[in-house]
Symmetry: C2
């Protein structure tokens, strides 16, 4: 039997198989907090699907754990390698293969970043509307976690915008699923099953993405409210108005202070309003016509005033961009503020006030500082937990997850379970579902080499 | 061991277990053409999820094939029973459980029809936008086939609008997947896997549907073109305009003649236009404002004229409704015209002219009459095949499927594989994918009792 290093090296070429000290620090982690970096035994940088399949086949034969890595911006440890494992880095598979303006799709390799794709699509007057905070994130990673982001209220999440995949299976085959079409009823939807599977079922080697006309005009309104209850009551009215918000975010007073401070953002909100506002609603609209946008912004302002907003600020373009940008970067603000963990529980959006009340109780009971802001339009609440004691922190996280699930929610809206939340996932999920998922896992990966320790223990 | 009839009867009550002559003709078939009706050994009419699970458990223990039936409007034989099998009819599980205006979801049982749901949602100013032709279809059937319909160009298909399910597994458990939220990254998406699985993995006992504000104003434009090539060139421009069409349909001249004749529809198209137009584009727009709709219709008209439309007819409401209605009922028109089979291959929409050219060749080569019209916006082509000889017909169908797949498409866009197209599905699908799907099937249904003969042989 050839030794594994030679086998892997034969597949990708010696210069693209890294071992020992040649493996840089970056490969040892993703952006999950409170997790020690671990260098893998091998880093392979394949250049096509066939190489990925051969790597998987070799790893399966020798029982070597395999982790896929795009940009390494994941927050749950799903792209952090295992010691003695093989990390497959998609950095060389980063081509935008096609912008197809007739079928309105983009075909890309998994290593393409959201920023690269957006730049290219902008030239064609198009947009891939999935917009998670981090534009350095890769499409492969987005598919792995079913990335969501702020525009989900209008455009849905990754799974609503990926039409097809090419993927390498741990059994060594390369398959194609879906295609350049929205409709299909031709067997099980493997595209959808692979999306959100966090690198445990198959490795994506190409994706067909649905793209949209890029609307030219955007306008943003910031509305302070007395408290979250009022924000939660306003949200369904905004959605029901037919104004079709692109972004509908809730920011609590504390977070607003932190992000405006860190982004050095002057929004012109008088002190007396700021001091009596515990919750802000940020609504962004888009339109292909500037006039219609202006009319809609005015209508939105009136609607919000009637719903109890203490004032309505129409933000000029640069301020709006800065605020949204700062909101997107809330993770880094939280990290800089010393957050020990970040979670993103999702709940039915109307349950937001109940959930946040429960969050406050759990924080107090455990002497832990928990701050956060949420995607008000879709009930996805991002919370930063500041608690150095790992045991207490785990208890807090478990409590927060339970609170979300009790309200009809789920552990994660867009970050994933990864390595970080496996215990909670297994403890809080119906065993019949866990067993079924394990059987699905075996159907794809009988040797159990794809991302062991992610989703399952 | 208690005999199976007693067991099933104990679960649903004697009055809801039918056998022998008590089983009406309706239960013996769905709407698939050229398939002999087959009465099942048992028809059970459960009233809740627990009963469905107990039925499945009993059937799995005794190896009795189980088929689910909603309204029986399926076109591929996926809801047609097996002889000696158990047909589970969801006619009693037909409650709309909740219209939740805060979270914008509807929670329904599988036996609810699209018409019933639409009537109820209209009262609340809401709409479930998935709109396949047949409004008597049930939600359960829509989930089973991943139903699509005309509005997919704007709102996607069933899988883009179902947020969660309750389902009974053939292993006897009842699980809940997803919930009242759009985002989730918490394990494999079982909701998506069950959608489109044609009753072979699990039986849906409840569905959480995303609903939208019901826009009040709709306008329809009919544009005759010289031929399909011109229509296909116009479609991406309409999509790219940002006008956001609700419906974008292509109708060939022959079909237009048939449906306007059968619907007794006068569209006011002069003879000289009609005689030189081989292809029509029907575009429907919607808006919450009548003024904006009028502006958009005007813009659309100018756009279409510039793209080669020989004229542009803005249809008055009643005519538009009749045309769309007739288009939806094209299946019945085809059936009345003696169609022996109906298929709905999907292709990338830009490939429509190439596909239709191939369709004509195949029809000629086999002396078979093939007519059809398509969802131009999403590449889903509905074809009626008139050929009494089963062998020749099978060859024609196979050829049509192959042509679609060669162009990057799939066998069915929304009807499903069912019992009818299993041979073609297995012959034309990558064996690695079929094997993987079989393993997934076993993961759900180790006893192999759910709809044997559907998808797999």
């Amino acid at each position: 039997m050839t030794d594994i290093k030679t086998t892997l090296s034969d597949v990708v070429g010696a210069e693209h198989l890294l071992t020992g000290d040649a493996i840089g620090e970056d490969y040892a982690h993703d952006e999950a907090l409170s997790r020690e970096p671990v260098k893998p035994a091998y880093v392979a940088r394949p250049e096509n699907a066939e190489q990925v399949a051969l790597l998987l086949k070799a790893a399966a034969e020798q029982g070597i754990p395999v982790t896929a890595r795009g940009s390494g911006s994941g927050l749950s440890g799903a792209s952090a390698p295992r010691e003695n494992g093989l990390l497959i880095s998609f950095e060389r598979m980063n081509a935008i293969l096609e912008i197809d303006t007739e079928n309105h799709v983009a075909v890309v390799q998994p290593g393409v970043t959201l920023q690269e794709l957006d730049d290219k699509l902008a030239e064609a007057g198009l947009v891939y509307p999935v917009y998670p905070g981090e534009l350095s994130a890769s499409i492969g990673g987005n598919v792995g976690t079913n990335a969501g982001g702020m525009r989900a209220i209008k455009y849905g999440v990754t799974r609503h915008n990926v039409l097809g995949l090419e993927a390498a299976l741990p059994t060594g085959e390369v398959i194609r699923t879906g295609g350049k079409f929205v409709k299909a009823s031709t067997g099980y939807d493997l595209t959808q099953l692979i999306i959100g599977s966090e690198g445990t079922l198959a490795l994506v080697t190409e994706a067909v993405l649905k793209v949209q006309p890029r609307l030219q005009h955007q306008g943003t309104v910031l509305a302070p409210f007395v408290d979250l209850d009022e924000v939660a009551r306003a949200v369904p009215k905004v959605v029901g108005s037919g104004l079709g918000p692109l972004i509908l975010e809730y920011i609590d007073g504390l977070t607003m202070g932190a992000i405006t401070y860190s982004a050095q953002l002057q929004l012109g909100i008088p002190d007396e309003v700021r001091e009596t506002s515990q919750a802000y609603l940020v609504v962004m609209l888009e339109n292909r016509s500037a006039d219609r946008l202006d009319e809609d912004i005015e209508e939105l302002g009136e609607l919000l005033s009637g719903l109890g907003a203490k004032d309505v600020y129409v933000l000029p373009g640069p301020s709006a961009r800065k605020l949204i940008d700062a909101r997107e970067k809330a993770f880094f603000t939280a990290k800089a503020a010393g957050a020990d963990d970040i979670i993103d529980t999702v709940i039915p959006r109307a349950a937001l006030p109940q959930f946040m009340a429960r969050v406050r109780e759990i924080a107090q009971e455990n002497n832990t500082f928990v701050i956060g802001c949420g995607h008000a339009g879709d009930g996805n609440v991002h919370l930063a937990v500041l608690q150095k004691d790992a045991e207490v922190r785990e208890r807090v996280l478990r409590g927060l997850f339970e609170a979300g699930i009790d309200l009809g929610g789920a552990i994660s809206g867009e970050h994933g379970i990864g390595q970080k939340h496996v215990k909670s996932f297994l403890a809080l999920t119906d065993p019949a579902k866990v067993d079924l998922m394990r059987r699905i896992k075996v159907a794809f990966d009988p040797a159990g080499v794809l991302n062991p320790g992610v989703l399952f223990d």
